[in-house]
Subunit: 314 residues, 2 copies
Amino acid sequence: MRRIVIALGGNALLRRGEIADARVQLDHIAQVAPGLAEVAGQWELVIVHGNGPQVGMLALERENDRALTATYPLDALVAETQGLLGYWLQQSITNAGLTGQIATVVTQTVVDAADPAFATPTKFIGRSYDANEAHGLAASHGWRVAADGDHWRRVVPSPGPVRVIESPIVEALLGLGVTVICAGGAGCAVTEHDGRLNGIEAVVDKDHVAALLADVLDADLLVILTDVPAVISGYGTPTAHPLGHVTVDEIITEHFAEGSMGPKVAAACHFAERTGRVAVIGALDDIAAVIAGTAGTRITSAAHSPTEDTHDVR
Amino acid sequence: MRRIVIALGGNALLRRGEIADARVQLDHIAQVAPGLAEVAGQWELVIVHGNGPQVGMLALERENDRALTATYPLDALVAETQGLLGYWLQQSITNAGLTGQIATVVTQTVVDAADPAFATPTKFIGRSYDANEAHGLAASHGWRVAADGDHWRRVVPSPGPVRVIESPIVEALLGLGVTVICAGGAGCAVTEHDGRLNGIEAVVDKDHVAALLADVLDADLLVILTDVPAVISGYGTPTAHPLGHVTVDEIITEHFAEGSMGPKVAAACHFAERTGRVAVIGALDDIAAVIAGTAGTRITSAAHSPTEDTHDVR
């Protein structure tokens, strides 16, 4: 059976400006679940989900907890979101008709403590605020904040993933026919020193971890699902147009927004370049067409012709 | 290799009255981890942990989150603690010298929606309060509260476990030599109707789930670790004495505290009676001796002689 890694945006579970009630997120997941259950019937499936809004909510709640003397580090909060969103996803995908087994594996992602990303936080987490609110929170909570479109949000360091500690377990479960949810929120960021793992204050990018996992697990296809139907070339300019099929060499020269489309394109390119296989970026709502190769932006290594790489005829 | 299920009290991770800071819990887990790593080298090991203090903390934080219109149901909060405590345990056990793989599997536990436990909440969660505080919180949050020793705490329904959805995955991982952390906080309570799973507002007892898992997984030994060295017969009376080896028939007539030693004894008896194998209740600090059969209270089925059941010579 062919193997697929799907990266699911945190926005698929909670959209900007929405109230983070459990019911709101469960309703979104119920929309996503049938498509994922169908994929799981045809592919060995790994699901990597985002957690930006959720980890931000937990961070704020924990900071406001007067019974504590210190808030929890981000690696711990990411672990909580892995439990929560993994549970909701596995239950909803089963309810949507998955006949096989599905498991959420709590995942640790090794990063390099010397990664320059620690000096320049870029990863948005949590709610949106207006500029005044954001700067107030930055002062009171020691946050770094940055503009995300019209609003402001907290930003945290996002070092690159070096290794996923639990990838052999994911591999073993896939081999047994189990659909695996893992590396939620990109996994808990840890450093590794003399075989010792230590949590570190960072949130890795989930698309980059999905690309790394797809490579390590020898996946046939990497699919990055988001809320837009395709990557837009020249975004915000008069020549803006959606990209269908592009090579890494063609797309790598263009600039995309940090913390938004930028990491998705970079992750897709990384996978395509390393493996010679196809990475697709497309809309969650088009999941079947994106996988079939008839929607989304397909990125292939320059060394491969489009025809060879059409993943629906592999 | 012999197979063991160890149930680890939530108090092993956070003691009564302690501040629930991450550092406090990580320090406790670092104390526990070497013993667990050693067991994992000798047995196929399943770890089931409690989460009373942690789920209580999350419930309170979520209720105080003004950005939400409703708090999260208990099944969702239990999922969060599975992620958090599973992450900390797997990392700490690796750091303590485990050479094999270890995985946390997010777990759902089926309960019967008609379980009479829903009418009579008995399971303590969260912090201790004095009587005034507790009754105030009961009024403002719609909680049920009950006395737990000298203090008061929130109580929630604790229906019996019917089935652990992910037990085949745990079985498969054990077969591959992976140490498994699962059913944390007894698993997320769900009801099952026409193959559909739905979260339900309850916290199952982790010792009962550990006993069910030990039975289903055909474990050789069930170990329930707590903060006292043995079960005390006649607790609080002049004839109080620790029990060494007892049969189910001998211990079943005695009354133990609900929400405390009661469920541990009942769970141990359930496993011993169903399987004819040994269940031990003992102190976390004595883990090696408890497993070796030289400490703790050993419970065996009446139908089996003590000699046959000495688990250290099995």
